[in-house]
């Protein structure tokens, strides 16, 4: 320990460390990259003893330079204050790899994610520091950019435990969480197989879209030959607040979204509704969560022709302030009994806010973390726009209950669910571990 211990930027720390994972080890070409351990040390230290930086990147965009700890009790990117940008990717695991190959991939992904989330290249000197005669290990588009609040969150789909033919490819069938099954069919589903499902998923959130894309791009590359992209989704604006320090953003219907979302500060609700408890089954998922992803197309051209009064009635909130139609301000609890002069309830019985409310769903809530998307336009010249819905919950039952309740939602006329996936999100990662290690123990 003869080296000076002073530099202030994490960048410098890792540059000094001799922790460079060779590209080949990252690729896992030769078994689970042993060299990854050193990375774990360097990046892992960043997480040791550091509390979750809840509320660190408070208002949207202000956290551009922040780096969130990668290691901790839970994976980052769930109660972390929702960043502005998303790149989400679902992968199919190659039929050519076995259990050890899968573990190797998870180890390599973990090592790379530990670095990327700290604003570092995928390996030391990865972008331009390598041989002139080899492709750079890091694709380079994030050079010079800060961590930008990047979080990388991994999840395991039902296909990991048994493939479409019921084959237990990785010896995991007995460990499948009982409720980790493809979601049932809901009203308004028009699911496209190529936008649904997946054996593995990675959610990359950052305040800079280039940083989020860089993460998915490099992690996809690391997976070549072991897992391939099934579908992916960019999101350009968060539609939920996950911290009381954040402003409530608007979705593409123009309404504030996520007012009543579970916030990181509501620690009792987070424990009760988001994290899988140690007493829940299966034990390997303790500290984890279930992730539901839904690509919800909004027929915004039709929506935009709806009168303001009707829009507010359908949503159940004021479009301007976000206050419930029963009165008050944005964060006033809706009063579903309150009646207007005509004797009708101020909040429509079939309004979105009512049908989604915990009081009509057995107290069930979710932590929503969705993003707006616009992927060009369709063949009719309509924007291919909507909400990429993401929710984290202790049990898939929470989402299923609320989604069934929403069958009567008047908004459905303007919505089409075209993609659907569910993943078990393992608990947090400790330095030296790989994501989901308990599953393979």
């Amino acid at each position: 320990m003869t080296r000076p211990a002073a530099p202030e930027q994490p960048e410098q720390a890792a540059a000094d460390s001799e922790s460079g994972v060779s590209r080949r080890h990252l690729l896992g070409l030769f078994g689970a990259g042993a060299a990854g351990a050193a990375v774990g040390v360097a990046a892992g230290a960043a997480g040791v003893g550091v509390a979750m930086s809840t509320g660190a990147a408070n208002a949207s965009g202000s956290g551009a330079a922040s780096a969130y700890p990668f290691y901790g009790e839970h994976q980052a990117g769930i109660v972390t204050p929702a960043q502005d940008r998303l790149h989400f990717a679902a992968f199919d695991v190659s039929t050519t790899i076995d259990r050890d190959g899968l573990i190797g991939l998870l180890r390599d992904w973990t090592d790379a994610a530990a670095r990327l989330t700290q604003g570092l290249e995928v390996s030391e000197g990865g972008a331009v520091g390598g041989s002139d005669y080899a492709p750079p290990a890091d694709t380079g588009e994030a050079l010079g950019l800060p961590a930008s609040g990047l979080t990388i969150t991994f999840g395991f789909g039902p296909g990991l435990f048994a493939d479409a033919d019921g084959v237990d490819r990785f010896g995991l069938a007995a460990r499948r969480p009982a409720s980790l099954e493809p979601l049932p069919r809901f009203q308004g589903d028009a699911l496209q197989p190529e936008r649904s499902g997946g054996d593995l998923c990675i959610q990359a959130c950052a305040d800079d879209p280039q940083v989020a894309v860089h993460a998915i791009r490099n992690l996809s590359r690391i997976a070549f030959g072991r897992a391939s992209l099934r579908w992916s989704q960019l999101g350009f604006g968060r539609t939920s607040s996950t911290s009381t320090t954040q402003q409530t953003p608007r979705n593409l219907f123009g309404f504030k979204d996520g007012t009543a979302n579970i916030k990181a500060e509501e620690t009792a609700d987070v424990s009760e509704q988001v994290w899988v408890a140690a007493s829940d089954e299966p034990a390997w998922l303790a500290g984890g969560s279930y992730l539901v992803a839904r690509r919800i197309r909004m027929i915004i051209e039709n929506w935009d022709r709806v009168q303001l009064g009707e829009q507010e009635m359908l949503v159940g909130r004021s479009k301007g302030s976000g206050a419930p139609m029963s009165g008050g301000t944005e964060f006033t609890e809706p009063d579903f009994e309150a009646e207007g002069p005509t004797g009708a309830t101020l909040i429509d019985t079939n309004s979105h806010v009512k049908l989604a409310h915990p009081t009509v769903n057995g107290g069930m809530r979710m932590l929503r973390r969705g993003y707006n998307f616009v992927d060009g336009n369709d063949e009719l010249g309509r924007l291919d726009a909507g909400l990429f819905f993401l929710s984290f919950q202790r049990s898939p039952e929470q989402f299923i209950t609320v989604q069934r309740s929403l069958a009567a939602d008047g908004l459905n006329e303007y919505l089409k669910h075209v993609g659907s996936a569910i993943f078990a999100v393992p608990g947090g990662i400790r330095s030296g571990e790989y994501v989901g290690q308990a599953l393979f123990a």
Binding site: M1, T2, R3, A5, A6, P7, E8, Q9, P10, Q12, A13, A14, A15, D16, S17, E18, S19, S22, R24, L27, L29, F30, A38, V41, A42, A43, G44, A45, A46, G47, V48, V50, S53, A56, A57, N58, S62, G63, A64, A65, S66, A67, Y68, P69, S94, T96, Q118, G125, V128, G129, S131, D132, Y133, A134, P135, R221, F224, G225, R226, S228
Partner: protein
């Protein structure tokens, strides 16, 4: 930046640094620090043991710099690290035999060397290098022979195809088309090295139009043999009849003669006494063949009218495998990493060949590419990616740089 996060990361940094210092101590002893400034190039020691010598470069200057190791004539550059940017710390490894050298930097990467200093390498000349020279020579000999064998194979096949096509025997010509191309596709990067030959032999219509050259060669013949129907589109979405009409018998004769002539020229060029290839040419050729597959064959754009893309695909893969085979022993001579890389590449070649075998073989014929579903193509593409990633490391590995 939020203060709390800043504080957290600063604390963590100290810890990370201390830990990694311990881990890396042994390695650090090996590296020779080089302090690069705008007007200096201070190498901390002036001697090293023969073998892989690691220089730990740090540029504290104001602009980009370059570190060089010169032979004792002070002219020949035996190793260099370019693009060392201000503030950058980067390791550079040079393979040095015993002898007298000079070290120097080059501010802004131009002009005279700065801070020229003598540097002595002592110890035993590496025995490996003699072996490596042998392996290297063998790789070149082997691959040259392969290239020549393929053009020799190509010539009579092309003659037969050209004759049938010129004579209007379309049925025979269609039967010959895909298999005739195989020897060419196996060594395509070599042909591409001769500037204008590949465009004349193998350009697709959209490439010729884009480059503004006369469209000749295999694919011109292909479109006559599998003529479009009214309303069909080229791969770029243009009307297939835009600036195109079926060739007249005279035009057919001209295209047939032209193809034979160009292929003959290719054969003469590669069989000339002074023709050779470098190690990097061979290895990069293997990589380029996989790129061909990934860019053109997977999308079905190569053989747009005949749908015979899978023949080209298989031929590219075979050619890449031969090129890899030529340098394999050299890769394996580079220690564990090289051995593992070679094994990985080999395994991925096997998987790719297995995937291709599901659709036929060069001997029995392949299905028309149009019969593959998007899912089929994705599965092939995944396997191409799986091979291309480790293969892209091959050149660096065999050159040891």
């Amino acid at each position: 930046m939020n203060r709390r996060v800043l504080a957290a990361s600063a604390t963590a940094t100290v810890f990370a640094l201390a830990l990694s210092g311990c881990v890396a101590k042994a390695d650090l002893a090996e590296a020779i620090p080089v302090a690069i400034t705008d007007d200096g190039c201070a190498v901390s020691v002036d001697t090293a043991n023969a073998g892989a010598v690691t220089f730990s470069l740090e540029n504290t200057g104001t602009d980009v710099n370059e570190f060089e190791i010169l032979a004792d004539d002070q002219l020949r550059i035996v190793g260099e690290k370019e693009n060392v940017t201000p503030g950058q710390k980067v390791d550079f490894v040079a393979q040095l035999e015993p002898g007298d050298y000079y070290t120097a930097c080059k501010f802004q990467q131009v002009g005279a060397p700065i801070g020229l200093a003598s540097f002595t390498v002592t110890g035993e000349a590496s025995k490996v290098s003699a072996d490596e020279q042998e392996l290297s020579d063998q790789a070149v000999t082997e691959y040259l022979a392969y290239v020549r064998s393929q053009t020799s194979e190509l010539l009579p096949l092309v003659q037969e195809l050209a004759d049938a096509y010129a004579a209007g025997d379309d049925e025979t010509a269609r039967r010959l088309f895909a298999t005739t191309r195989v020897p060419y596709e196996r060594i395509e990067p070599t042909a591409e090295a001769f500037g204008d030959l590949d465009p004349k032999i193998d350009f697709r219509e959209v490439d010729a139009v884009a480059d503004g050259i006369d469209w000749t060669g295999f694919h011109r013949i292909e479109k006559d043999l599998w003529p479009p129907a009214q309303g069909d589109l080229n791969s770029d979405g243009q009307d297939a009849f835009l600036d195109w009409a079926p060739s007249t018998p005279e035009e057919r004769q001209a295209y047939a003669d032209g193809l034979v002539e160009n292929v003959t020229q290719l054969h003469e060029l590669v069989t000339a006494d002074d023709f050779s290839v470098s190690l990097a040419d061979i290895s990069n050729g293997a990589i380029a063949l996989l790129d061909e597959v990934a860019a053109g064959k997977i999308t079905g754009e190569e053989d747009w009218w005949s749908g015979t893309d899978l023949y080209d695909f298989q031929a590219n893969v075979q050619g890449a495998y031969v090129a890899f085979g030529a340098v394999r022993a050299l890769a394996e001579s580079k220690g564990d990493e090289g051995t593992k890389l070679a094994a990985e590449i080999d395994a991925q070649f096997t998987s790719l060949n297995e995937a291709l075998a599901a659709y036929g073989s060069l001997e029995e014929g392949f299905v028309n590419y149009a019969e593959l579903t998007d899912a089929d193509k994705k599965a092939l593409s995944d396997q191409v990616n799986a091979l291309a990633e480790p293969l892209s490391q091959l050149t660096s590995t065999i050159l040891g740089v």
